[in-house]
């Protein structure tokens, strides 16, 4: 249970936001998850001006394996390319290529998990089921028993719902990133729907918090013309929208909590190390508070934008923004109480 939101600001930049809560045994809350991971190395970012972050919602171990494998794959592919061209290649993968590969790894993990389960239960794996037989000690066994055929197919295709199969199938991923050929893009990959596709607008939400976020995003989109939607969204307005949607989700959805991880990508920055940054310390919590205070009427929109600009984009110190936050408040005393959880 989680929420992962992504937004495109313009051709060169965008952002992602997620929470950090994990649910154990359907009841225990832990702020332990690092849900959005950089899947492109610093070397590739520097030499190819490509960046990509992947956020996974569903099973933690599944997402972790996916993130590690796609990152390893990209790094190895780049090493191969460098060897092949004996230097820095002219171009490398697009974000779309990365998304396709990520989906293929998602499927691969699914097949491995299902195969392990089938082997334990029936003594054969998916490919044996498809070909209709398996071999054991060089002896061929036809798979003909109706109940076994039905049981195996239900597992492979998720027709049967149980705890294990749900954990395998209920995984969705969101990739946001930039490549020089196509600019900033977002892709979603869904195992339950069996698809990998580019996102159709400048905002995308995945996870258990999606229903609440989508309500907020649909209001935002309603205010934008088609031309504006094509262009993207002004970065400060965009990050406020992303944080507020995640705030809404934190309030009304289950399994969302802790600090947000705010990932900013801006490929127009001169220094490669500034092109992709993550804000997940106290500044992230302060950003959540600033945006929340605007939406509850303690701050004007103008003040909120100014504070977020300074905190997130101009790298002002926490202390300075915090001071200005309370100074800008219409009712600092009441706002202080509200932020402490008072109604």
């Amino acid at each position: 249970m989680t929420v992962i939101n992504a937004i495109k600001f313009n051709h060169y930049s965008g952002a992602m936001v997620c929470d950090e809560e994990r649910t154990l045994d359907l009841k225990r809350r832990l702020c332990t998850v690092d849900k959005i991971q950089n899947i492109v190395s610093d070397e590739i970012l520097k030499e190819q001006n490509i960046c990509a972050f992947l956020g996974n919602t569903g099973t933690l171990s599944y997402g972790h394996e996916l993130q590690n494998r796609i990152r390893d794959h990209i790094i190895k592919e780049y090493e191969k390319e460098k060897k092949k061209f004996d230097g820095i290649p002219e171009n490398f993968l697009t974000v779309g290529d990365i998304a396709e590969k990520a989906y293929s790894i998602m499927c691969d993990i699914k097949h491995r998990l299902i195969d392990e389960m089938l082997m334990g239960k029936f003594g054969f794996v998916t490919k044996d089921f498809i070909q209709g037989f398996y071999k054991k000690d060089d002896k061929k066994y036809e798979i003909t028993t109706e109940e076994i055929l039905k049981g195996a197919e239900e597992c492979i295709t998720w027709k049967k719902r149980d705890e294990f199969l749900d954990r395998v199938f209920i995984n969705l991923s969101l990739i946001a990133g930039f490549d020089p050929e196509n600019g900033f893009q977002m892709y979603r990959m869904s195992l339950p729907h069996g698809l990998s596709e580019p996102c159709t607008t400048f905002i995308q939400s995945e996870g258990s918090g999606t229903d609440a976020c989508d309500l907020y995003f649909s209001e935002l989109l309603r205010r934008k013309t088609q031309a504006q939607r094509r262009e993207g969204i002004e970065p400060v307005e965009g990050i406020i929208a992303l944080i507020e949607a995640t705030n809404v989700s934190l309030r009304v959805n289950i399994g969302i909590g802790g600090y947000f991880n705010i990932v900013l990508m801006d490929m127009e920055k001169e220094r490669p190390q500034e092109r992709a940054i993550e804000i997940n310390d106290n500044r992230s919590k302060l950003a959540m508070e600033i945006v929340d205070s605007m939406h509850t009427g303690f701050l004007t929109e103008e003040n909120c934008k100014d504070l977020i600009l300074r905190l997130i984009f101009l790298n002002n110190s926490f202390e300075k923004v915090h001071k200005n936050f309370f100074k800008a408040s219409k009712k600092p005393g009441e706002m202080g109480k509200y932020l402490r959880g008072h109604k």
């Binding site: 009304v252 959805n253 289950i254 508070e289 001071k323």
Partner: protein
């Protein structure tokens, strides 16, 4: 789902704490629960020297159904004094009220099981017991084995299947005081339909009970037998009770919002003194005092006296809140902790700002607080 925790202080006093979060359709967090409710109107409690509350976890609609039925029946019995049928007797003790509530719990369960059976098969659990039902004057035997098996499962409420069976999550604590036996508590769950008398000083039901039990057990385990027999300090007890709720909320889903703190004190002269509910901002400030004390921002004496003022002396929460921050070792850091900042990385070098409710302190103390 709710959390309801109980701590008995001594023979005649106890307190309960509950939250207000419920997951609508098992996914939407809504703060609308009212999980601990008094069963007796003030005039009856006054006349009979009796206090009884019902704390319930599970689906709120079911709990409200049970509480409403029980209140109505208690009122009817009271109004029919001197004219009661043989099957009814006037209640005078917690035991009496608990029995009435148990009957209503069983009735509410049966009503839901019957509604399900009527919807699926057109007969109810009484028909199932006798093996036939009647429709338009025609007797129809219930013979199909699969129908009987399924209907028995529903009638005996033996398992949960769909969200329609949410009422089967119901658990309850009946807690009260009467002159004869002092504080008594009973535990109920749907699986066996009986009341268990609570034998210890603590009881926890609901989603976070595993966490709450650890907090309250740690408190109890620090006391030797003689101390337990004499009873616990009420302010300390309230703090531990709130802490048990707060920790459960921090670590468990489906617990949230403000706490409702119910304090029953049999030594009170009248209902008003015997039954005290602290909710709304009072409960929130009480929670903040407990957090501040547990995290080391408040000294024991200060924390206890703030709780006494807030819960037992009925002081207004605004003045107590100001005293909380004035007495805190580091009001700025406390403010951050109460706002949900991570305690290992509380922002430093932040000045005492206007949002912190400190009025009755000198400038020197403000500076001192800011320095820390």
């Amino acid at each position: 789902m709710a959390l309801v925790n109980l701590l008995k202080f001594d023979r005649d006093s106890c307190a309960l704490v509950s939250d207000e979060e419920y997951w609508h359709s098992r996914r939407r967090r809504i703060l609308y629960g009212d999980f601990v409710q008094s069963l007796l109107p003030a005039n009856i409690a006054e006349e009979f020297d009796l206090e009884v509350v019902y704390g319930a976890s599970g689906v709120p609609n079911f709990a409200i159904d049970v509480v409403t039925r029980t209140r109505k029946e208690l009122k009817n019995i009271y109004n029919s004094r001197g004219n009661l049928p043989e099957s009814k007797k006037m209640y005078r003790t917690v035991d009496d009220v608990a029995q009435i509530l148990l009957n209503n719990l069983q009735t509410a369960f049966r009503k839901r099981a019957d509604a399900r059976l009527e919807g699926l098969y057109g007969f109810n659990s009484d028909d199932l017991t006798r093996g036939f039902y009647e429709k338009e004057g025609v007797k129809i035997e219930i013979k199909q084995k699969s129908v009987k098996d399924s209907a028995l499962g529903i009638a005996q409420t033996s398992k949960r299947g769909t969200p329609l069976d949410n009422f089967l999550e119901h658990q309850g604590l009946i807690v009260g005081w009467d002159k004869e036996k002092g504080i008594q508590a009973y535990y109920f769950n749907y699986e066996d339909f009986i009341l268990y008398q609570s034998a210890t000083d603590i009881d926890c039901i609901g989603k976070g009970k595993d966490v709450s039990q650890v907090i309250l057990a740690n408190f109890i385990n620090r006391k030797h037998l003689d101390a337990r027999r004499k009873g616990y300090d009420r302010a300390e007890g309230i703090i531990e009770l709130i802490a048990s709720g707060h920790e459960a909320q921090a670590h468990t889903h489906e617990i949230g919002g403000y706490f409702n703190i119910v304090y029953i004190n049999g030594n009170g002269k009248n209902h008003r003194e015997r039954y005290i509910e602290a909710n709304n901002n009072t409960a929130r400030v009480a929670n903040e005092i407990a957090i501040a004390y547990k995290k080391g921002f408040l000294k024991k004496d200060d924390a206890f006296s703030l709780i006494k003022a807030l819960i037992f002396q009925g002081k207004d929460y605004i003045s107590v809140e100001e005293n909380l921050f004035s007495n805190a070792d580091d009001p700025v850091a406390l403010d951050f902790i109460l706002r949900g900042y991570k305690s290992d990385f509380t922002p430093e070098n932040v000045e005492l700002h206007e949002g912190i409710p400190i009025k009755a302190v000198t400038e020197d103390k403000k500076k001192e607080g800011a320095k820390k």
